[in-house]
Amino acid sequence: MITAADPLLTVRDLRTHFFTGAGVVKSVDGVSFQVRRGETLALVGESGSGKSVTSLSILRLLAASGKIVSGRIEFTSRDGQNRDLTRVSEAEMRTIRGNEIAMVFQDPMSSLNPAYTVGDQIAESIMLHRRTRRREALEIAAQMLEKVGISGAGCRIRDYPYQLSGGMCQRVMIAIALSCNPSLLIADEPTTALDVTVQAQILDLLRKLQEELQMGILFVTHNLAVVAEIAHRVAVMYGGRVVEDGWTSEMFRSPKHPYTRALLNSIPAIGRHPARLQAIPGNPPNPLTLPPGCAFEPRCQYAIAECSRAIPNLVHTGNEHWVRCIRHGSL
């Protein structure tokens, strides 16, 4: 089991806004969570809730119009140094990216360069972070492919991305991400584009590699079933904020935020089939026009007048569980 004493990444009240012609888009407006060594935190939320912007903020890979306006991103590197990534220089950030923090994106096909063999792409990433010769790097590349479950890796390193299936490309992306032994892996919807049978293989692979390498994983997804399968902890996002954060089993057993509750009741599950699903009325919020109070208030069946006055704080309810709802105690 993970000890609470081993924090790897601590995000504190992060706010990332985009300054656009249409106004200020508060994509991330109060995100806090922690990822510990050897632990997987799932960041869940609907489309537009700010999951990807949170990941990109951590890596400082935001579009030019995007700015981290406040908050801290504390990261403990291998040498034990703890730094606020919102403040380190771009040069420092470059050594952290890939070396200490690696990322895997949703669409594997478009993240690989079609003009180079997969072996070359892994080798290049290895040579970027370690002092090795090309030949040696290619050997390591083949080992990496073996490790992520691609058989006949010795030949596969000469393949071009178009010669591989989506699932294989995603494995190559994972191999590239892991080639420098990162302590933190950020995986943004890594299985969303894949078939369930292949998704199951990739999830098994990530679990196995995590155990082996004791990586922390930030797993971004909108799929609650995948969360139940892979995450130790879950942070639920709604309208740019974390509204609930806690241990996975507790979150599914007794969700405390009305949004988390409603969401869990609205999804059909094999083995649990109510005559009718409980739909959540209305639509997710527009980040350009967030309500002044709780972002879920317009859709919440427990809302009272006070809910629309101010944004509720994220409060600790015990056992490392946090909720952003003024009514959580009386539900």
């Binding site: 078939d195 049978t197 998704q199 139940a228 059909p268 094999i270």
Partner: protein, 317 residues
């Protein structure tokens, strides 16, 4: 038993790929649908689900086989003869963003079909449109708004209203909730369920999500590389799959229960290309139960229990 509303007989569909290669999108697909039935069609990407839906609606010409709708063989009907049939068969698409014309208002989108099929006198059209919008949970006033002014879920409602405008008997819903936010999916699924019951629609419901299919459908059909692997009443199929592929598919589907004990039948690799489907049983390259014979014979769909069919030569499950 009633006459089936739809009967598909040995339907095959090939596409020509690059360099004259044949893509076997559908091979020898046969099944029937009873009036008022909601049949779930599941299978992984590229298994031929959309091709089947589109072939039934004659949006694609089949390469071989027959489609019998309401007792009429529509496989080779001319466009003119197809017209009265077309009114009976409608489709709801996956993508509510690209399937609606951005230059038309919701009202125009819904009434277009009424005009094409000359169903309602012009003077009464706006009243009918208002009824249809209300039926799918929108407001009559929404008729004057354009697609971009609606959310994804609302756009999907417009697509459903458009499909229902002509009072079809048969509906193909191709991944109707896959592009929607999770919190909005249930609204649309409930709507489809209600409408199907109210209007006794016959629905072919296409999805890659087994849980969604189980929620809505009485019967399920599993497709792999363009062939039917198994079809059974939903309860039976989920509780006791008889085909190795269905077993693998069910055991791979994640369930939203942390720590759920699962007996996973892991199958390796990816589905083979439709350009070169394996000989014999198309699933044999990934099947944990495959024996030598599986590469030699193409398993016929056979009834293993009443209403429960599978295409597998073995009886291990």
């Amino acid at each position: 038993m009633n006459e089936p509303l739809l009967e598909v007989k040995r339907l095959s569909k090939h596409f020509s790929g690059r360099g004259g290669a044949q893509i076997h999108a559908l091979t020898d697909v046969s099944f029937k649908m009873q009036p008022g039935e909601m049949l779930g069609l599941v299978g992984e990407s590229g298994s031929g689900k959309s091709t089947l839906g589109r072939s039934i609606l004659r949006l694609l010409g089949p390469s071989d086989g027959q489609i019998i709708f309401n007792g009429i063989d529509i496989t080779h009907l001319s466009a003119r003869d197809m017209r009265p049939v077309r009114r009976q068969m409608q489709m709801i698409f996956q993508d509510p963003f690209s399937s609606l014309d951005p230059r038309m208002t919701a009202g125009q989108i819904v009434s277009e079909a009424l005009a094409i099929h000359k169903l309602v006198a012009r003077a009464n059209r706006s009243a009918r449109v208002a009824d249809l919008l209300r039926m799918v949970g929108l407001a009559a006033e929404d008729a004057t708004r354009y697609p971009h002014q609606f959310s994804g879920g609302q756009r999907q409602r417009i697509g459903i209203a458009r499909a229902l405008a002509v009072e079809p008997a048969f509906l193909v819903a191709d991944e109707p909730v896959s592009a929607l936010d999770v919190s909005v999916q249930a609204q649309i699924l409930n709507l489809l369920q209600d409408l199907q019951e109210e209007l006794t629609l016959t629905v072919l419901f296409i999805s890659h999500d087994l849980a969604v299919v189980k929620q809505l459908c009485q019967r399920v059909m599993v497709l792999y590389l363009g062939r039917i692997m198994e079809t059974a009443p939903a309860g039976r199929l989920y509780a006791g799959p008889k085909h190795p592929y269905t077993e693998a598919l069910l055991s791979a589907a994640p369930v939203p229960v942390p720590g759920a004990k699962r007996s996973r039948t892991p199958i390796g690799g990816d589905a083979p290309s439709t350009l070169h489907p394996p000989s014999g049983c198309v699933f044999r390259t990934r099947c944990p139960y495959a024996i030598a014979e599986c590469s030699q014979v193409v398993p016929e769909l056979r009834e293993v229990e009443p209403g429960h069919f599978k295409a597998c030569i073995r009886d291990v499950l």
